[in-house]
Symmetry: D2
Subunit: 358 residues, 4 copies
């Protein structure tokens, strides 16, 4: 590709920000141009401002970049701005960037429920980009727009659900249980005294996110592309726990289809394995070869063994079997800081470029 | 109590056997009289035969006891025999003991589905002891009998389910997800390479046990005390996983009641906290003061913090809340090697003594 | 014992404070009378002020005690004050208490190097209480005094070193390596992202503490009981690391004796096993039966299996063997929050009572 | 490179064997040609014979290769044979291969002490290849030879020691303490009940290996290239422990130089950072860019963050500082299954190719 897009990263010193930097280090169309963090970090070199906790070192070209405050003026040259900001500051900052006509891809929860802001999982509902013209109109921008990606656990869940919904029609009931990695809580995040030889059966706000976001993502853009038809007849119940795993959220789901008789285990495995998505068709750089990997071994997926498949951009599904209560149950794994966070944003941005929105 | 009962322990060198020894070390009515293990261990002192993995040392009076093979002749003087044998040998050995007119409390799965063998969780269905006269008749014994206790995860689940069923009538649907401790797999058990920084979403045979055993335990003894009325209208779907926790199985359950409208969260918490069981009423030594502990903190129960409450003989329940799909959901914790295994057997034996069966 | 002493606990809501509360819950001579913490906690019930992280629940009589600020006026009725304060505030507060004629046992580092403040490991150098009359003179108190206990790792090391020094004369060189539990860093303390699947080879200030404190503890009270003869010819080199263990510091030491030929492995094991200390002779409630437990199994001590022996007040030593470079090497284990912290203070206070100093 | 060498892997289904397969999957000069394992695996496809525990999947071209027994006849076409065999079988098998005129690179301990078998750490003593002509003469081979690589912990230690010895002359005393990853014990290896919330202060035979192997590796080939001058005046004392870390051995060493005054910390860091080795000069594919990485952050190296640097072929050194007892102390990290095992063999084989020995 010839043209290179300049990108900025907000919240660059945090866990999601560090993952953005790794994902963008050798990117064919994006080049890191500006870094934003809190005023405490502003003015420092990135190396001095961050507590780097990745197993790969800071890319050389980023080490000595000077960190800015998160003001749109410092990011005016950026074609794309990725936000890994915490929710307590993301609301104001991201809106200021949008109103400065900048393109923002956000990991924060603040605008996910906003009716004119798409909530996009790149391998599930990239069709929601269709709302951008309407959003630009609402906010009076000709270039800028704001896309959010979903909560990490929601992201893992909706990818196979979308494949099933496309193939077999609406899902009526979903009960899902998550076992979430500590990296999802950022740094310092989960104290070791809370999680060593332990499981914490609670993550604040997480269950509500899964139960609500699923309905927006699996819903369609309405007929005049001015909003989303939130699914009302797909009911989700989530239980979320934290486990002593570095990366990779494991989720167990039981599902009931609206249309009966429900498909067989074999039909479901076939549909999941064959699932193809728009970013793959568009040839996006970060698109996984397989959006869903079906693993037929009895004890998979496992976080440590499967999280890095497809560079963390796939969802691995295993243990597809009959559910005595609903129709089927299965286990899925998502890399929570790649597809579940920064990786979704990057792939969303690639889709937007491919669609000519940037 | 004046009279002291002599007890034997089969599978004494294994993980469950070690727990039996700790539980019986200073017991007011049971005294350890004989130890049984494989022929490889027979003839050795207990200290030399076992790889002791408990955080309390081997009781002094047990250290130098000589281990026997598991033949009834060596246990003829025992009033009670506790079996922590593995399933691959438990079947033949326990039957040989029963036919030698011995009283056997087994942790193995072999006879759980046997129509004339009670499957008893002491704080759920001690009424199932009523079948003993019939069982003795069947096997032609005047003194001996065989009781099994349930799978560790089933045990944790049925205690609150029984409380709810007693108070609010039958449960129609239960979806349960377990996060099970490594001690449940014995020693050497789970390789560390499989579980460090990982979760294994599969435990062979475990889901089937929960789904089936629940129906036997929550069912009633039939009218002429010759069998059990397995619940047919309570359907259970289980997903079982292994997590890097030493002791303590955590389970998340979603439940639908047959009778509608379902009880409120407050009514459920009240019923669980007030739940009283026969071994408590009989004043059994190992009975917990509270059979169910209701913890109202948002992030409890947790294995490391709650597993040792009531010396491991209680089930702790937390996070009782509305389920968007069913009626309610909650989280429970059971100490898998105490109430979930050896502790159930010991308490069952105390009940049998109190009922005059031994 | 008839007379009951009222005690206060400073830093009651922290990790060390929580351990003080557990150790003092059913104490025969001490009764918890007052709790102190930061102004943020003051005025709240203890239950609301603390994030309780122990596996035993908060004692009932403490749950609803109101927490005070750490001012001596609120502790005037206390016969003993235990301090689990952090170093950044301990200096001023403990001095204010001392000058208010109160008896203070401190876990903080602030006064350990003070020439007139004893640094006492109860099973190593309780003779250092002899300095109290001089200290009272210096600070103009007739009743109050200040005792510090040692750093947790130092404490584990000096117990066997004292036994060896007493038996075989001065030690010339000691190289020690520690693997320290996360509870030593308090709560929230070590982030889980730093320690899961990891070891951190650095603990700020820890190596210097071991290298210096050993010389004060193993030294004698000078002839007129006005100071301590710091050992100058015993040189210590320490390397300290943090490992994913909840409780229990493991230390490996190589030692050279000043007097040659050095004792044999057998002589050393014999001396360690026979080591008897003043609090044991005084019949102190918290004194371990064995101050040093010698474990001859090849792979012991281990934190999880041995830390709770003697209720955490012993040091377990194993792997005593020849060192190719020095004379001997061995491994030791100390429960860092019991004998390594709160347990030392409690036992020190019991010694002081037994000696008539309180 | 034009010519491609065919390689065989013995012990292909084990932990070291799996690492060989990953390292050789896309190798520019080696191509996997034959796999050997026990008779239990022979005849099966690799996929079915192994329990794959790597976070990357089995390379496609290896999945369906048929596993052979470890007999030289099946490996006759191999230019190089890598052995990841366990010590209990490696002795006979490797000798049979050598006598069949095959080139063997072994990870087993069996021939490390053999006077005519080089014990080579590729970034420390590749000069020991000079003995090959003599070895061939002894065993009557014209093409075949046998090279062993060192124990994983020894390997990490000798790389910086060699750099220091080259620059500052002989080392007189070394006291080293290791914290070793569970992958070093293979699969199933360390039971999780032994290592979760725990450290095991013992690894059978490990300390003796470090203490002896160091002297052979750091010694020179004798003047007529018929043997090695084992260092007699460099005394090593090792203590080895197992920690809950997946990959990466951490070691802390205290060192005394024979020549005094000893070099300063700065001189040592400079020498370590500048250390260059033969495989780098030969342009070997697997040679690290830096054989030693000096990390000056106070809390590094750490296994999880640093083990994958230079694809696991470097040793990372940190915390270089004065030792109060000896001259200096420092911490090092080695990836135990790459440079510490399979990676050493592969790099040794590349050196041998570059030297024209294969």
């Amino acid at each position: 590709m010839v043209a290179t897009k300049k990108v900025g990263i907000l919240g660059a010193t945090g866990t999601v920000g560090q993952r953005f930097i790794l994902l963008l280090a050798d990117h064919p169309i994006f080049t890191i141009h500006a870094l934003g963090a809190s005023s405490r970090s502003a003015g420092k070199s990135y190396k001095d401002a961050t507590k780097w906790k990745q197993s790969k070192p800071i890319p050389e070209n980023v080490e000595n970049m000077i960190v800015n405050e998160c003001k749109s003026a410092s990011f005016a040259e950026c074609d794309v701005v990725f936000s890994g900001l915490d929710a307590d500051v993301a609301g104001d900052i991201e809106m200021e960037f949008l109103k400065a006509n900048l393109v923002v891809f956000s990991n924060a929860k603040n605008y996910r429920r906003e009716p004119t802001v798409p909530l996009i999982v790149p391998t599930a509902n990239s069709s929601h980009f269709d709302l951008i013209p309407h959003q630009r109109k609402i906010y009076g921008q000709d270039k800028g727009f704001l896309i959010t990606n979903a909560n990490c656990s929601t992201t893992g869940l909706v990818v196979p659900l979308k494949a099933l919904q496309d193939a077999f029609g609406p899902l009526s009931h979903i009960i899902v249980h998550t076992q979430q990695a500590i990296s999802g809580a950022g740094y310092p995040g989960v104290p070791s005294l809370d999680i060593l030889d332990n499981v914490v059966p609670y993550i604040s706000g997480e269950e509500e996110k899964i139960e609500w976001e699923t309905g927006k993502i699996l819903g369609a853009v309405n007929s005049d592309a001015t909003g989303f038809d939130h699914l009302e007849n797909t009911v989700v119940s989530a239980t979320c726990t934290r486990v002593p795993v570095i990366d990779g959220h494991l989720e167990s789901a039981s599902i009931k289809f609206a249309n009966q008789p429900a498909p067989s285990v074999e039909e479901i495995e076939k549909v999941l394995a064959a699932y193809t998505t728009e970013p793959q068709q568009l040839g996006c750089h970060s698109a996984p070869e397989r959006a869903i990997i079906v693993n037929s071994l009895p004890d998979r997926p496992q976080p440590r063994l499967d999280r890095d498949l497809e560079k963390g951009q796939a969802v691995t599904v295993g243990r597809v079997r009959k559910c005595p209560v609903f129709d089927i149950k299965f286990t899925l794994l998502i890399h929570n800081t790649v597809l579940g966070a920064a990786g979704s944003s990057v792939l969303n941005a690639e889709i937007a470029v491919a669609k000519g929105l940037i």
